[in-house]
Amino acid sequence: MATSGRREPRFAVRISASVWREEVERYEAVSEARLAAERERPHLERDGLAVGQVEPCAEFGPEGTRLKGLVKVYVPISGAPPSERPYGLVLDGGRDEHGPYLALIAFGERHPERPATRSVYERAHRRLHGRYPDE
């Protein structure tokens, strides 16, 4: 169930072992991306995310992604400008006997330097639609 914080509802964040392995552990152990995700995990699992911390993904993204129905948060999770937060978590809303929750489905670079590297949005699209936007 969505838990009531002092100011706004919060959602539990659930991270499956298989998704963590595929999305975070694909990076080298000392990579900035992996370290950034590992720093956030305890906070996400303990505190969840407030509604105001997440943002709906774009129905039609610039890379051809179609992510309607998913939400995202930039990493590091902070009040810093998006340009200072190079990674992203994409989450899918779920529900169980306790109520709604957010499930991690993709993590990665928002704007990869190498053109062939898939962005977190493309990986989320693959997870949602079963193929990459250009496949």
Binding site: A2, R14, S16, A17, S18, V19, E22, R26, V51, G52, V54, E55, P56, C57, A58, G61, P62, E63, T65, L67, G69, V71, K72, P82, G88, D92, G93, G94, R95, D96, P100, Y101, A103, I105, R110, P115, A116, R118, S119, V120, Y121, R123, R126, R127, L128, G130, R131, Y132, D134, E135
Partner: protein, 71 residues
Amino acid sequence: MAVVPKKLSIGDLVEIDGRKYDVVPDKAGGVTLEPAITKTLDEIHTELGGRRLTPEEFDELFGHLPSDGEG
């Protein structure tokens, strides 16, 4: 003896040294390997003991939030 290359196609799932990769387009007319994605959203929620929100449930909870359109 001639070397016989392994034939791979876009969409194949391969395992190299214990790590799984998808064979995907490289956006430049070629192919490359991308760390594999093997679980669907439904499978992830099943693993977590829940189910996906319906579109109506999603809109009720998050439909009022703004999007920056980045992705």
